[in-house]
Amino acid sequence: MPTINSIEDLKRLREEAQKIKEMRDQTGKTQIVVGMGTIGIAAGARETLKAILNFIEENNLPDIILRQTGNLGLSGMDPVVKVTLPNQEEVVYGKVTAEIARKIMQDYVVSGNVLAEYLVKE
C-alpha cells in the first residue's frame, strides 16, 4: 500500500475503507432495480417504482437497495424489475404493473417464492 503523505491520502484511504465496508454490507441486502427508459416510463414504470417504495414503507422492510436505471433492453417486457435477494441469482420480472410489483414484494422479496408467471419470457 502506498504511504499516506497528506490529508488527501488519508481521505482517499477512508473512502476506500468505506467502499469495502459498503460492499460487505451490501451482500446481506436485497437489490431491486426498476427499468426507467422511455418505453418503461410510457408503460408505467414510475407507478411500479412507487408501488415498491410504498410497500417498503408500509412494511418497514430493512436492507433494500432500490434503484432505477435507464432502458434495460428487454424488448416488449416493460416495465422490467430485476430482483436480487441476498446470496441469490438475479431474477428478472417483466410487465410489472404496480399491482404485480406488490405481489412480487410480498411473495418473493418477503417470502422467497419466485412467481414464475411474471418472469421475463425471452
Binding site: V34, M36, G37, T38, I41, A42, R46, E47, L49, K50, L53, I56, E57, E58, N59, N60, L61, P62, D63, I64, I65, L66, R67, Q68, T69, G70, N71, G73
Partner: protein
C-alpha cells in the same frame, strides 16, 4: 406519455446517463404570459456541437443497445404542438440544460401530472445524484434541494420507512400548498 411529469422523468434519465451528480428540475407557470416552462439542468458530460445538432432526430442516441432515442424528439413535438418549443444548451464537460416552453392554456397542452411521484422516484431510485426541485406558479415558489437531508442522514439508507414518509410528505405538501394558494388567489381575483 400522458403527463409532462413523465417527460420530465424521461429527460432526467438522460442526465443520469450523462453522469450528472446534480440535476435541477424547474417547473414554472406564468399566468400573465400564459406560459409554462419546464427545464432539466444537469452537470453531466454534455454534448458537443455535432451531437447537439443531431439529437432532435429520433434515430440518434448515445445508447449502444438500440438505435432509437425518443425522449427529446417526443418532448419537442409536444411543446411545438402548444405554440412552444424545446431548446438545448450544452457544453462538453460542463452539462446540459433542456428547456421547454408551452402555451399554458393551449387545448393540446397535456397535464403536468404527478410531479411529486416523478421527483420522488428519481430521489429514491438514484440516491447518488443531488436532486433539486423548483416548482413555481406566478410568485408562489416551492424549492427543495436534497443536500441538507442527505447531510443529516449521513449515509443512512434513504429507504428507511420514516425517511420515505418524511420525503413523500415534504414534496407532496410543498407542491400542493402552491396549488392550493393559487386556487385561493384565483377566488380572490374573481371576487374583486
Amino acid at each position: 406519455m400522458r403527463e409532462l411529469a413523465l417527460h420530465i422523468l424521461d429527460i432526467a434519465e438522460n442526465s443520469i446517463s450523462a453522469g450528472a451528480s446534480k440535476v435541477e428540475i424547474v417547473v414554472k407557470k406564468d399566468s400573465l404570459n400564459d406560459e409554462l416552462w419546464i427545464s432539466v439542468k444537469d452537470n453531466g458530460k454534455g454534448m458537443d456541437q455535432e451531437l447537439l445538432a443531431r439529437v432532435m432526430d429520433p434515430f440518434v442516441t448515445s445508447r449502444t443497445t438500440r438505435k432509437v432515442g425518443l425522449g427529446i424528439p417526443l418532448l419537442k413535438q409536444a411543446a411545438e404542438a402548444c405554440n412552444g418549443g424545446l431548446t438545448i444548451d450544452s457544453q462538453p464537460g460542463e452539462g446540459t440544460v433542456i428547456t421547454t416552453k408551452f402555451q399554458d392554456s393551449h387545448i393540446d397542452r397535456m397535464p403536468l401530472g404527478n410531479l411529486a411521484d416523478t421527483f420522488l422516484g428519481l430521489f429514491f431510485g438514484t440516491p447518488d445524484v443531488n436532486w433539486v426541485l423548483h416548482y413555481q406558479v406566478d410568485d408562489q415558489v416551492f424549492e427543495f434541494d436534497d443536500t441538507e437531508v442527505k447531510q443529516v442522514l449521513d449515509g443512512m439508507p434513504l429507504t428507511d420507512y420514516r425517511v420515505i414518509d418524511y420525503l413523500t410528505n415534504t414534496i407532496q405538501n410543498g407542491i400542493n400548498n402552491i396549488n392550493e394558494n393559487v386556487i385561493k388567489q384565483g377566488v380572490n381575483y374573481a371576487h374583486n
